[in-house]
């Protein structure tokens, strides 16, 4: 490669990154972190004249009464999960109390697993603060929605769930190792794919978080595959789901069953 070509290559990197930042900014300017509830068939707007998706949206609309969209920023699984589960807990006192207890204890557990207490504390404190504010006794039903659209709280919750997930992967390293491809070690996977913000979630993240928190999640898969129906998958298998999510390639939104 001669000198000019190399210089071009460097500038091209910069242009690509600039464009990427521009797209990210557009997304954050136009799409809230978590939207209001919307009718399921509003999905049709994105798939005008697309028969495959059209029939799957019809199928989904027959099973679910509403959808709540999340911002596609790589954190969507964690944000959608947290919102949906806390919303469920606000109406179920017994489960809420058990979860609060588990959340309280989680800090010491993560410290014991080797997470730095110093930074962990911040995220744990804010996480607990959020849980406190969406207790079943809380009258303001909009509080959860406001908190999740305030970046300062919303992102703290996402970070803490990422750390819980990472801790679970560490604890069950023998099991999770089977799901990691290539030459990536468990440590590398945790530090590169779980703990950093904006990194997308895969089955392994979902399984780890569900097991860490003892929560069942049903994910409805909607893609270009044949069959005309969405496919449900429960994590962990055989549990009674408390959280319902819609997965379209690369993105998770919240669903409300009929």
């Amino acid at each position: 490669m001669d000198q000019t070509e190399e210089t071009d290559a460097v500038n091209r990197d910069e242009l690509i990154m600039q464009q990427q930042r521009q797209i990210e900014k557009e997304i954050s300017d136009t799409i809230p972190l978590v939207s209001e509830e919307q009718p399921v068939d509003s999905l049709n707007n994105e798939y005008m004249g697309d028969d495959v998706y059209g029939s799957k949206v019809r199928d989904l609309a027959a099973k679910y009464r509403a959808i709540r969209r999340t911002r596609p920023d790589g954190n969507c699984f964690f944000r959608a999960f947290a919102y949906s589960y806390l919303e469920y807990l606000a109406g179920h006192k017994e489960d809420y109390d058990a979860f609060k207890e588990l959340a309280l204890k989680s800090k010491d557990k993560l410290v014991a697993l080797g997470f730095p207490q110093f930074t962990l504390e911040d995220f744990h404190d804010t996480f607990m603060e959020v849980i406190e504010h969406v207790s079943p006794g809380e009258n303001d039903k909009q509080e959860l929605h406001k908190l999740f659209n305030a970046q300062g709280y919303s992102d703290y919750v996402v970070v803490y769930l990422r750390l819980i997930t990472s801790g679970q992967v560490q604890e069950g390293a023998d099991f999770y190792q089977n799901f990691i491809d290539g030459n990536c070690t468990i440590q590398e996977f945790r530090h590169q794919e779980v703990e950093p913000m904006y990194k997308e979630s895969d089955h392994i993240h979902i399984i780890a978080l569900c097991s860490a928190l003892n929560v069942g999640v049903r994910v409805e898969y909607m893609d270009r595959g044949e069959g005309g129906q969405v496919k449900a998958h429960d994590f962990p298998e055989g549990t009674d789901p408390k959280v319902y999510l819609l997965y379209r390639p690369g993105h998770y939104d919240i669903l409300y069953p009929n």
Binding site: Q3, E6, T7, V10, N11, D13, E14, I16, M17, F115, P116, F118, T119, L120, D122, F123, E129, V130, H133, D140, E143, K146, L147, A150, G152, Y153, D155, V159, R162, L163, H191, Q192, E195, P196, M197
Partner: protein
């Protein structure tokens, strides 16, 4: 008062990012890890720039050398990573450190996590230096230094060899 409005009124005084930086600074002054010393005078009022001195570790190629790091934080810290460069007259000669002070280290960009901290960055850089077996500049040093953006976070790094 709702939590959100409470946060907003609090943030007019100090933002979450400033609170976090403040906490980190105090800890670093009180209990610095070996060979790491924050230059307290260099810390600006808004905490957005710090200089940190680090010593080459005994028994490594950098024993007896002293280096200085410049940390810059924006108001999205700790969600955004800090911008970290070597500054001053002694830039370590290392395969991942460019002669303009830019450092190729994945936790400074792609693999940054808000659970990391100034202290953990210092320790990673120190261990990156310590594990070096041959003092040399990155192979593309001349070209990079000539063409790169002033901010290393604007470089699209390709992390290759973690073993050096």
């Amino acid at each position: 008062m709702s939590l959100v409005s409470k946060m907003e009124s609090k943030s007019s005084a100090t933002s979450p990012s400033e609170r976090r930086l403040h906490k980190e600074l105090l800890a670093l002054i009180k209990e610095p890890p070996p060979g790491v010393k924050v230059d307290v005078d260099s810390v600006g009022k808004n905490l957005q720039e710090w200089k940190i001195n680090i010593d080459g570790v005994e028994g490594t190629l950098y024993e007896g050398e002293h280096f200085q790091l410049l940390f810059k934080f924006n108001n999205k810290y700790p969600f955004d990573s800090p911008e970290v460069t070597f500054i001053g007259s002694n830039i370590p000669v290392h395969p991942h450190v460019y002669s303009n002070g830019h450092i190729c280290l994945s936790i400074l960009t792609d693999d940054w996590s808000p659970a990391l901290s100034v202290q953990s960055v210092c320790l990673s850089i120190s261990s990156m230096l310590s594990s070096c077996r041959e003092k040399k500049r990155p192979p593309d040093n001349t070209l990079y230094v000539k063409t790169c953006n002033k901010n290393p976070k604007k470089t699209k790094w390709w992390y290759h060899d973690d073993t050096v």
